[in-house]
């Protein structure tokens, strides 16, 4: 047992030290900046500013109303990110399952092909989407050639979601696939032998077993899509101002302390969400096995 303890320490120690130095300490810096003013005196003004800044917004009907600027921005970012994540999951789950049941060779090929687009710079990939989606773009030209009417897609929520789903789809597939590839198919057979329907197997066996992968997939898609600013700028006609834009804008305006405050709040909210999700999964009995 003593030896075991030694292994444990040796394997964790380098990572532990690294994590403290390069993950925890920088966060302390974010918190420090969030709670100080330009001359590094303690203040909560940055935090309150996030929750209290208001602006007048006119909606489509022309009616003006007062909104909380940053809460609205956060809400919009969250909405787009959640939609993208759900679409990634819905598209990715069946695909991951199909891949995991394919022959070894097919699995390897498909996974490689899913990764290939990621090796081409995402700024450039997003550029290519502009060429496809714009009003005079490839998609609309194709529709016209087929005698169909043009559609307005660039600059809409749909275009931004397409961009996010496209860029982060592999981050959903990989964790899902890696957990499904490991599943023991005998369990499915057993469940079926014991009278489970196909849907029942999915719901009671496959899904519970794949939960850790689902969770990782969700995290890996949700976070980058909530904080992106490049995709929304290029595909949203610059009309979607998301939380990433807000942080970047404050940083560029040399407002490092307020930028840190927005970041700090975003981080706390996300941490709480993730903790709640993980707890919910941990509490579940591990599958219907």
């Amino acid at each position: 047992m003593k030896k075991d303890l030694l292994t444990k320490r040796l394997t964790i120690a380098p990572y532990g030290a690294w994590a403290v130095l390069f993950i925890v300490v920088p966060l302390v810096f974010v918190a420090y900046y969030a709670f100080t003013d330009d001359s590094f005196r303690f203040t909560t003004a940055n935090i309150t500013r996030f929750f209290t800044t208001t602006a007048n917004v006119t909606d489509e009907t022309g009616a003006a109303r007062e909104v909380h600027t940053y809460l609205l921005i956060f809400g919009r970012s969250l909405k787009l990110a959640v939609i993208s994540t759900v679409i990634c999951l819905l598209l990715g789950y069946p695909l991951a399952y199909i891949i995991s049941r394919a022959s070894d060779r097919a699995q390897k090929i498909i996974i490689t092909f899913i990764m290939i687009p990621m090796w081409m710079n995402f700024l450039i990939r997003t550029y290519a989407w502009m060429t496809i989606l714009q009003d005079t773009g490839i998609l609309n030209n194709a529709l016209t050639a087929l005698g169909l009417s043009r559609i307005k897609i660039i600059g809409t929520e749909t275009a931004v979601v397409v961009g996010m789903v496209y860029d982060y789809f592999p981050y959903m597939i990989l964790p899902l696939y890696s957990i499904m590839a490991k599943m023991d198919t005998k369990l499915f057979e057993a469940a079926r032998d014991l009278g489970c329907s196909g849907a029942g197997v999915l719901r009671r066996v496959i899904f519970p077993l794949s939960l850790p992968g689902v969770l990782n997939g969700i995290t890996m898609v949700l976070i980058p899509s909530i904080s992106t600013f490049y995709i929304s700028q290029k595909l949203g006609d610059g009309k979607f101002f998301l939380i990433g834009d807000a942080i970047e804008g404050q940083y560029t305006a040399n407002n490092l302390h307020f930028a840190a405050a927005i970041a700090f709040i975003l981080m706390v909210i996300l941490l709480i969400c993730m903790a709640v999700m993980r707890r919910a999964v941990d509490k579940r009995p591990t599958g219907g096995v």
Partner: protein, 668 residues
């Protein structure tokens, strides 16, 4: 695979590869456009291989990605094994949380927070510059680690814990059990973790941007910094090459891995396993006689060797970061803002190195880096984390740098070519006594419109951008100062007015314009104007030619200059952190000499304040009368207009106020 599965997979792949197909096609475009295909050509591939800065950035990207992913995979796998063995719920939760942090932190925060820390630590140890290759590598390792752990850990948890125990019962040492039983079980996780790390590192822009040091630019940074002057098909050519390289690698690995050979290998493996089992049994018999003292030490050895990998990597990167060149000049300029040898132009940086060697008999190296905006450049410089010898900021930013004591006075004796700078470009507001700057380019904002769509009668003033007739065909700047500028010039109010009410009025005007605006853009403007996607846009005069050259058949781009408008000057300066002022001044002087100055003026296509250029017959001929009329309109006194209408530096309160107004405009 069932048919339905095949169809589904195929559909997803169409989605995944549609943009890739676009990349492939447009990399062979004859024109510069990324949206109008005008004919097949291989010229962008040639351009790519002549572009040493881009190739260098590819190399940098690969070095960082390889180092970061190898180290992160080694450390992350070890950590996962350790975490899996943890029995204390408390520590486990703590470690899990910490591991999750880089993943649930927006990358911009990870980037900024690490930069803050590196700069702080750097100052603590009195380092002149705190960012270098090591810092970008550390940052990449840090954001890759969680992905490795999150891939490996579930595999360990899924693994039957009885397996390694069984192996040990059969006489395997714990290390051997780990390597022979556990590792193969978790291998898919390790490989996925490694590939993900590599991919993430390859593609990262934001974190690299904040943590990279002087002169070390990765490909994403380079591409992002092209946002004032647009991405060229050269980058598509690069993406295409990457695509085919990966494809080839994959096909090769699959050929080597066909079913026959796999069967053979499996048989060989089985034989080897049998032999191994025999030996293990023998050893087990021996072990019963003499219990080993080795295994614990062996484990230590493995753990230490994992650490050694990190140390070796650290040494490699120190060597890599300390170039052996005796004299280095670090130049920091706008993206696409120097003649770089493409399309038969002069490679100014390379020629300078050659010229210097011939002139002074000494080898020097120019480290050329780019930035995307004055604000980005300022943030980098002000953090004290980087050090440059020559920078090229714009007027209002120069004023700020001077105010904050961040520029060195130039020794004009070392810059004799300064005599060719016209009177009109001396003593401007940002440098009234001519102490700090040498003008590089100047230009102004004008309106570009598609004459096939826009009525000539509607042109001439700023009102065109507010004309409801052209609703949703108008492009507005996607940065606050320039967008507010258009509204303020239109209303005839000063763009530097300290009165907040003036800014509020400009916001009202922009809000009124918003329903008419198709898109808020920076470099996307090129695409949209060339393809006829939009019909009206305000942009820099010189960039009009670039667009007109690549316009589609049904588009007829024209240009005019509304009055008043924004005039700007970008000038070469030497920042206070400069380490070789003499060399910097030689470089500035070289940039003013005839050949490079003309090459730059033709490449950038903005107006040039250098009389060696503007009085050169060849230059005048190359540009043509029409272009000259647009670039060098008869302005009367440039200095007067410039001092009145150029942007001045805003103080913090006003910048903050402007930013808040900008947010209000954007969320509407």
């Amino acid at each position: 695979m069932k048919l339905s599965g095949k169809i589904y997979t195929a559909l997803i792949f169409i989605f995944l590869f549609a943009p890739i197909a676009i990349l492939l096609v447009f990399s062979f475009n004859e024109a510069r456009s990324l949206s109008v295909f005008s004919g097949f050509s291989l010229k962008w591939y040639g351009e790519l291989f002549r572009d040493s800065d881009t190739l260098k950035s590819v190399q940098n990207t690969l070095i960082v990605a390889v180092c970061a992913s190898v180290i992160a995979t080694a450390m992350g796998t070890a950590a996962a094994v350790g975490i899996d063995k943890l029995r204390s719920r408390y520590i486990r939760t703590a470690l899990d949380t910490v591991t999750n942090i880089p993943m649930i932190n927006p990358d911009i925060i990870t980037g900024i927070s690490m930069m803050l820390m590196f700069v702080f630590v750097g100052r603590l140890f009195g380092a002149a510059t705190s960012l270098n290759f090591a810092t970008i590598l550390i940052a990449h390792i840090t954001f890759c680690l969680p992905y490795v752990i999150l891939q490996v850990l579930p595999k360990l948890q899924q693994m039957d814990k009885a397996l390694p125990e069984a192996a040990m019962d059969l006489g395997c040492t714990p290390m051997r059990a780990f390597l022979k039983v556990e590792v193969p079980e978790i291998m898919p996780g390790i490989i996925t973790g490694f590939i993900m790390s590599f991919t993430l590192s390859l593609d990262d822009f934001v974190i690299s941007y904040f943590t990279t040091g002087t002169g070390f630019q990765t490909l994403p940074i380079r591409i992002y910094n092209m946002t004032k002057k647009t991405v060229t098909p050269k980058m598509y050519a690069l993406a295409t090459i990457i695509f085919f390289v990966i494809l080839a690698l994959m096909l090769l690995s699959n050929l080597a891995d066909n079913d026959d050979s796999r069967q053979l290998r499996a048989m060989r493996k089985a034989k080897r396993a049998a032999r191994r089992a025999e030996r293990a049994a023998e050893r087990a018999a021996r072990l019963q006689k003499a219990p080993p003292a080795l295994s614990a030490r062996k484990k230590t050895v493995i753990a230490v060797s994992a650490g050694a990998v990190a140390v070796i990597a650290a040494i490699v990167m120190i060597i890599a970061s300390s170039d052996n060149q005796p004299r280095v000049l670090n130049v920091y300029n706008w993206g696409e803002y120097i003649s770089d040898g493409s399309e038969g132009s002069m490679d100014v940086i390379k020629e300078f190195e050659k010229w210097y060697r011939a002139e002074y008999g000494e080898k020097i190296k120019v480290n050329y880096s780019t930035f995307a905006s004055n604000e980005d450049m300022y943030a980098k410089l002000a953090s004290g984390a980087v050090s440059y010898d020559v920078i090229v900021p714009s007027d209002y930013m120069i004023a700020r740098l001077v105010d904050e004591g961040m520029l060195l006075p130039l020794n004009y004796d070392n810059i004799p070519n300064y005599q060719y700078i016209g009177e009109d470009f001396r003593g401007l507001f940002y440098d009234p006594d001519n102490l700090y700057t040498v003008p590089y380019t100047y230009n102004f904002v004008g309106i570009i419109y598609d004459a096939n769509v826009v009525d000539e009668a509607d042109t001439g003033t700023w009102d065109l951008m507010w004309n409801p007739k052209y609703a949703r065909q108008i492009l507005q700047f996607n940065n606050s100062r320039d967008a507010f500028g258009t509204a303020m010039y239109r209303a005839g109010i000063s763009v530097n007015d300290p009165d907040y009410a003036v800014w509020d009025a400009a916001l009202e005007s922009l809000l009124e314009q918003r329903p008419l605006v198709k898109s808020y853009v920076m470099d996307e403007i090129y695409n949209m104007m060339e393809s006829g996607e939009a019909a009206i846009a305000a942009y820099y005069a010189g960039d009009y030619f670039t667009m007109a050259d690549a316009q589609a058949d049904n588009v007829d781009l024209q240009f005019y200059c509304p009055e008043p408008t924004n005039y700007f000057v970008d000038a070469m300066c030497i920042p206070a952190c400069c380490e070789d002022k003499e060399l910097a001044e030689i470089f500035i002087n070289y940039m003013l000499s005839e050949e490079p100055a003309i090459a730059n003026a033709e490449y950038i296509c903005y107006a040039c304040p250098n009389s060696l250029v503007t009085e050169n017959e060849e230059y005048l001929e190359d540009m043509g009368e029409e272009a000259l009329a647009i670039l060098y309109p008869d302005l009367g006194s440039f200095a007067e207009l410039f001092n009145e209408y150029a942007y001045r530096n805003l103080d913090t309160e006003h910048l903050d106020y402007l930013n808040t107004l900008w947010e209000t405009l954007k969320i509407n």
